[in-house]
C-alpha cells in the first residue's frame, strides 16, 4: 500500500514537471502599425504586452519573425523589429513570431494584421455596429 502511494505521488510529481516544462516557453508580441501613403509601417515588440511578453525559463536564444509577405527577419536576437508592407493590400498579412530557447524548446504565435482600405476598414467581431 505504501509503495503504491509512493508511485502515485511520484507520477503526480512527474506530471507536474512535464506541465511546467511545457509552459516554460512563451511567444507573445504586440505591434504598432501606421499608414504611410500606400505603405504600412509596423514595429513589433516581443517584450509586450507588459508583464506577459515572450519568455523562456532557460533563457531566450533567438527569435524568428515571419512578416507574412514572404519577408522575414531570419534568426535574430532582436526582440524589437520593424517592417514596411509596401503597397499594403487587404485583407492583410499573417505575422508569426517564433521564440527559441537555450534548452532547445520553441514555440510560435501568429496574429493577423487587418488591412482595411479607405472608409470601410476592418470589421471587429465585438457585437457592435462598426
Amino acid at each position: 500500500m505504501k509503495s503504491a502511494l509512493r508511485i502515485v505521488v511520484l507520477s503526480l510529481g512527474l506530471a507536474c514537471g512535464a506541465a511546467a516544462a511545457q509552459a516554460a516557453v512563451t511567444a507573445n508580441f504586440q505591434a504598432n502599425c501606421q499608414w504611410s501613403g500606400n505603405d504600412v509601417n509596423c514595429v513589433y515588440d516581443a517584450n509586450r504586452p507588459a508583464g506577459s511578453g515572450s519568455s523562456c525559463s532557460s533563457g531566450i536564444k533567438d527569435y524568428f519573425w515571419d512578416y507574412g509577405d514572404y519577408n522575414s527577419s531570419g534568426y535574430t536576437t532582436s526582440s524589437f523589429v520593424s517592417h514596411t508592407y509596401v503597397n499594403a493590400t487587404y485583407p492583410g498579412y499573417s505575422v508569426s513570431l517564433s521564440v527559441f530557447c537555450n534548452d532547445g524548446t520553441s514555440t510560435t504565435t501568429t496574429r493577423p494584421i487587418c488591412i482595411g482600405i479607405g472608409y470601410y476598414g476592418c470589421i471587429n467581431i465585438n457585437g457592435t455596429w462598426n
Partner: protein
C-alpha cells in the same frame, strides 16, 4: 466657332451622363459576434446613418449584391442580410457590396469590408498607430 462650341457642349453633356451612371454609393456596417467556433454577422446597407447606400437621386437602390467572402453571396432587394461563417475559420473574410438602381441605370462602385478573425489567442492587429 459656333460649331466648336456646340461640339464642346456635346462632349461636356456626355461626360456628365457618364459620371451620373456611377453616382450610386454603396456603404454598409456589420455587427458580428462569436457563437461557439462560428461567427454570426448581420450587414446593413442603410448604415452608417451619415452615408447609407443610395442612388444618385437619393432613392433606395433596387437591388443589392452581397458577396460574403466565403464563397456564398446574395442578390436581391434586401438592404439588411444575415450570414453565418462556419469553422474552420481563416484569418480574414472580405465582404463586398454593390448596389444597383434600375430606375436610373446606376451601379455603385463596390464597398469592401474586412472581418479580421482571431485565432491562437493573439488577436487581430489593427493599423491605428497604437500598440495592440
Amino acid at each position: 466657332m459656333k460649331r466648336a462650341l456646340s461640339l464642346g457642349l456635346f462632349v461636356l453633356g456626355f461626360a456628365v451622363l457618364a459620371a451620373s451612371a456611377q453616382a450610386a454609393t454603396a456603404n454598409f456596417q456589420a455587427n458580428c459576434s462569436y457563437s461557439g467556433s462560428n461567427i454570426n454577422c448581420v450587414f446593413d446597407a442603410n448604415r452608417p446613418s451619415t452615408s447609407p447606400s443610395r442612388c444618385g437621386d437619393g432613392s433606395f437602390p433596387t437591388a443589392y449584391f452581397w458577396d460574403y467572402g466565403d464563397g456564398s453571396s446574395y442578390y436581391g432587394s434586401s438592404a439588411f442580410v444575415s450570414h453565418t461563417y462556419y469553422a474552420p475559420l481563416p484569418s480574414w473574410y472580405e465582404i463586398n457590396l454593390s448596389v444597383f438602381c434600375t430606375n436610373t441605370g446606376e451601379q455603385s462602385v463596390t464597398a469592401t469590408g474586412v472581418i479580421c478573425l482571431t485565432y491562437g489567442g493573439g488577436g487581430c492587429i489593427y493599423v491605428n498607430g497604437t500598440w495592440n
